[in-house]
Symmetry: C2
Subunit: 442 residues, 2 copies
């Protein structure tokens, strides 16, 4: 079967057969396949779609183009995946908390492009922290400590790697089957037995509406279940940064503050909700209530923070940061971003808010860009808060004046102050449980 025949089938709107999907994944891995044929097929898929069966088969076929790991971590290996948002550092909060409750969290995280680095970039702002570990080492850490966060190991889903890069330059990112199969192919290859998905929804997310977010979540849950994984998903709001800190070291600091019990808010709320699902899928807790109580008591006892310190030590980092966040990289300059009007904060365009962080140097535009771990900002107001003209709504942490000017401009353009008090939606918009039941928690 030639790739051109597969392109023609999808172009005409047919569902691809299992054999055609195998061929497509193999062709995507094969360096001899011309990019232009893959690009044409990706666009045909973007416009004409793929059904649940096709999507699940593509995912597994892409996973099988590379290594398939079966990690032995002395329990159910549980992973969490966020589709990406701003100030979204739940992994740093929940991985140690879930481990403190007896879960086994094996988190492989990419670096990626974006407003800040990925979770591994954030952790690397801790002096000495290693994210490139031999497989034997990180599995031992999961077994002994209960959690470990590493960069992607081996060659996971190389077909996806190539298609992902092509999608970015051919206008084919915004396809639910392609997003779902891309994410899940790496998860299946990584070998997690239980996966909790955090599908972000809003101006700072790939999915702009709850409806699209649910479609994506259902597609990913379906793929995982068809491949024998325990799955659950939350749809969470991303129309303002989740945490109040945006930036690599700044987000580590906030995670530590949360684990130390000094700070609450939406970052804690969403982390606990995700952690609850992780404990349930792991079989560590039998009911959601039991899971919540375990997490609450770990938080109160400070055992999440101790677990983070253990993990940092195991991964070669300086665990003293957990007790003195002043040891994290610090930006040389700070300055306030002031409200231009009086009223209620009614909009914080989160794509622009992310761009402000990237402009400061917190993220990459291209693969070889170097991240400045110290820079970023802290928001001082949330959607629905009262603001007075001239009052600080955020604080920039920066090392370069010219970049700070650009970042402040982006941040200002992200903000709208209105005369009427808005009512932000709840942080958790919907949930899909392991049994497929969908709910919209209050």
């Amino acid at each position: 079967m030639a790739l051109i025949d597969i392109i023609n089938h999808k172009k005409l709107g047919f569902a691809l057969s299992a054999g055609e999907i195998q061929e497509f994944a193999g062709a995507a891995k094969d360096p001899g396949t011309p990019d232009y044929q893959l690009a044409a097929l990706l666009m045909a898929i973007r416009i004409n779609g793929m059904d649940a069966r096709e999507t699940a088969e593509l995912t597994l076929a892409m996973a099988h183009t590379g290594d398939m790991l079966s990690p032995d971590v002395g329990g159910v290996a549980v992973d969490k995946h966020s589709t990406g948002g701003v100030g979204d550092t739940t992994t740093l909060v929940l991985a140690p908390l879930v481990a403190a409750c007896g879960g086994r969290v094996l988190k492989m995280s990419g670096r990626g492009l974006g407003h800040t680095g990925g979770t591994v970039d954030k952790l690397e702002s801790i002096p000495g922290f290693q994210t490139e570990l031999p497989e034997g080492d990180f599995l031992r850490i999961v077994r002994e400590v209960g959690c470990c966060v590493v960069g992607q190991t081996g060659e996971l889903a190389p077909a996806d790697k190539r298609l992902y890069a092509l999608r970015d330059v051919t206008g084919t990112v915004d396809s639910i089957p392609l997003i779902a199969s891309s994410i899940m192919s790496k998860k299946l290859a990584g070998g997690a037995q239980a996966i909790v998905l955090d599908v972000k929804c809003g101006s700072g997310a790939l999915m702009k509406t709850p409806e699209d977010s649910l479609l994506l979540a259902r597609a990913m849950v379906d793929i995982g279940q068809r491949n024998g994984r325990r799955m659950a998903a939350l749809i969470t709001r991303m129309d303002e940064p989740l945490g109040s800190h945006v930036g690599n070291a700044l987000e580590v600091k906030e995670a530590i503050d949360v684990l130390a019990g000094r700070v609450g808010g939406p970052l804690l709320q969403v982390s606990l909700a995700l952690g609850t699902r992780m404990l349930l899928l792991s079989g560590v807790a039998d009911t959601a209530q039991q899971a919540q109580e375990m997490l609450d008591s770990a938080l109160r006892a400070g055992s999440g923070l101790s677990k983070l310190a253990e993990m940092i030590t195991a991964q070669g980092g300086d665990a003293r940061v957990c007790f003195d966040t002043g040891l994290l990289p610090q930006a040389r300059f700070q300055r306030p971003v002031k409200a231009k009007a009086t009223g209620w904060l009614s909009r914080m365009d989160t794509e622009l808010a992310g761009e402000a962080a990237r402009l400061l140097g917190a993220g990459r535009r291209r693969k070889d860009d170097v991240i400045d771990p110290a820079v970023g900002y802290m928001t001082l107001k949330r959607l629905g808060d009262k603001v007075v003209a001239g009052e600080a709504v955020a604080r920039l942490y920066y090392n370069d004046e010219a970049l700070a000017v650009q970042a402040e401009e982006a941040l200002q353009s992200a903000l709208t102050v209105s005369p009427d008090k808005p009512s932000p939606a709840p942080w958790i918009l919907a949930r899909i449980d392991q049994d497929g039941k969908e709910t919209s928690p209050a």
Copy 2:
């Protein structure tokens, strides 16, 4: 404006602006533009379409990426374009006939891939015939003789050249806006002031139905008219070879036989219908009836054949072939293809019939394939004819026994003999006149 934005607009189904289309054509010409982006955009256009304005603008923009000729031929330069069929050698009949009536036929023809070569390949089977002439020479020949057939000169529509090659390998050939803009970009650049289109319809043509053929014809007529050209189009049947000869020298022989008045049939009928439109568009005749009478009388007087001889001489060829077709290249072997059943010939799959000629060596599969000018076949039966089992339905002309076996197999599989007498459709299925009026001639 970045190409990725244009891809995204078309992906979402928007009509592209004039500026976006200019950018697209420029990007297609620019070797720095990656093929994968063009491939993605072509697929988005294939699936989501382009309206008449977009198609016309793309055509002109592609034409302007290369040379724009304004040939001075001492009258209205008229061209004819066929979308391609089997045994379709109308150019060799009508160019001299129209010239004999006072028309000025400037025909630029590609070589292309296919079951036989293009018109220039057919003419090159005449000993000495030159199709690569300096512009000054071929314009002089049109002025002095009235017709000249040359290969594409200069760099006409290089953006189209690249897109055409990409479409072939990305499943994006079958798009009416892309077909229309590709054909017409070269016609606009070539500088013909009047263009008669012969849109083929049926199993041997790109367009399989009269409806699609009319859509394509309307699109091309519209493009030409928007760019100040005089346009007309015929939709003609292509569910069996038009002439009875298929092959390069064989088709030259048949054209000569038709011009000499020895042979009639559908090749003559369609040539006269196209020639009528050419004389009308050229302003040489005022009414269709007058044009027909001029062509008939030229045919009866043999002045079409004299004109062909003049053109062959002017282009360096041996004009004696016009009076002794035995001087054309001859295949070493002949053999009959015999009917396998008794009944009526009800089907002659024309794509397969074309493939039979290509298998013999009459056409190219790849650009660097060498054509054998002598080989091909003659059909002895037409759709609707009575055939008796064992009776010859065609005669192969070949130089290689193994190729003849393959070709005979293809030809046999193209034929169906049925117990019931079929009623073939008329050869001319529809017509679009200069004023846009559409008719279905009896």
